[in-house]
Amino acid sequence: MASSIRVRATSSGDTTEVQALIQHPMDSGFVKNAKGELVPPHFIQEVTFEYGGKSVFVADWGPAVSKDPYLKFAFKGGKKGDELKISWTDNKGGTDQTTAKIQ
């Protein structure tokens, strides 16, 4: 299976810009399915970005984050070719992680 995480990390000298897209339903618990039943909440609660063994960004999310969530941030430092580690966990205990090379 392909990873649920897509990452683009680009270094522009002193800062590294990171964009990530995660495949996840992000069900809020307020939406009904075709049968009229509420779809139980199922959403990512935490996303962590680590570089050089340190976390450079942590996202805490509620159910209001859009389906297939997107994030953009930047941090100082980050060398081309180095790895960035990304992981998420959701409210049902689901999790995934990946690494991305800084371009």
Binding site: A2, R6, L21, Q23, D68, Y70
Partner: protein, 285 residues
């Protein structure tokens, strides 16, 4: 309830009046080339500020606020996952060892702009979606459902490899082809559903305007961006999905995906967008 009813009624009357103000005594000799020219001129005149090739960007070419949101979305477009899935499916061998590449000219790469075409052997219009399923079936595989998922993924990938190539739809010298084109055109302009709207009511007469605050896409170039990730759908959809959902929105019972009328409609609508680049897969509100 009352307001829904009232606004519906208002829309119906407005649509009827719009129709009635059109004088037009149409000549009955089909002339696709003249149609396409008039069609493109109509949109160029209506939206003098929109560059010709930007019509493939749908409502985003019409509204600055939307344009900005779109650009932000395109930084990491929501169709990315479908595209990856499509690439995988496209390369994955069937049980008999063949792949999609074996079914298509140029191994299926960079050919989106030639679909739909009129197949003289089958005597009908063949859309890309139909061709994908014909490929699967002729290789002993189960066909995809037409509206989303795998079909959207594979056509997304095929469109992606064709980005920038102008639509190049041909009408061969075969009376059946011209008839299919005319059928499609008729379907496009025919009012249907309880709201009494034709495709043209929304996408010719009112693009750039808002219906319940949504900006309508111009018909010119609308198929160049297919398949699309539509926020309203919360996912990907094919041309089939677009047509069927439009029919339901005007309170008409949709036909089956890839029924004759829909393929003919796609033939007409693609033909009059000839020259505009393929931009799919797209992202739409």
């Amino acid at each position: 309830m009352r307001s829904v009813f009232g606004s519906t009624f208002g829309l119906v009357i407005a649509a009827l009046l719009m129709g009635a103000t059109h004088s037009a005594a149409a000549t009955d000799t089909p002339n696709p080339a003249a149609d396409a020219k008039a069609f493109q001129k109509f949109f160029a005149d209506k939206f003098p500020k929109v560059k010709f090739e930007d019509f493939v960007n749908g409502p985003y070419s019409m509204d600055a606020g939307l344009y900005k949101q779109w650009k932000e979305k395109e930084e990491f477009p929501p169709y990315e996952f479908a595209l990856d899935m499509g690439k995988e499916l496209f390369a994955k061998p069937f049980k008999n060892g063949k792949t999609f590449a074996d079914c298509f000219p140029n191994k299926g790469i960079g050919i989106r702009q030639n679909y739909p075409y009129f197949d003289e052997k089958q005597g009908k219009v063949v859309t890309l979606e139909l061709a994908v399923n014909q490929c699967l079936e002729s290789n002993g595989e189960k066909p995809y459902s037409y509206t989303k998922d795998e079909m959207a993924a594979v056509t997304a990938y095929m469109a992606f490899t064709s980005r920038g190539k102008p639509f190049d739809i041909k009408i061969p010298n075969d009376p059946r082809a011209l008839e299919a084109y005319e059928n499609g055109k008729k379907y496009f302009y025919t009012r249907r559903g309880q709201l009494n709207f034709s495709c043209a009511s929304c996408h010719v007469q009112s693009p750039g305007e808002r219906i319940r605050a949504e900006v309508l896409a111009p018909a010119l170039g609308i198929l160049n961006a297919m398949p699309i990730y539509r926020s309203e759908w919360g996912g990907m959809g094919t041309t089939s999905r677009r047509f069927t959902s439009c029919n339901s929105q005007v309170r008409g019972v949709p036909l089956k995906p890839q029924d004759d009328e829909y393929r003919d409609l796609e033939y007409y609508l693609s033909y009059v967008s000839n020259g505009l680049p393929i931009s799919g897969p797209g992202a739409r509100p």
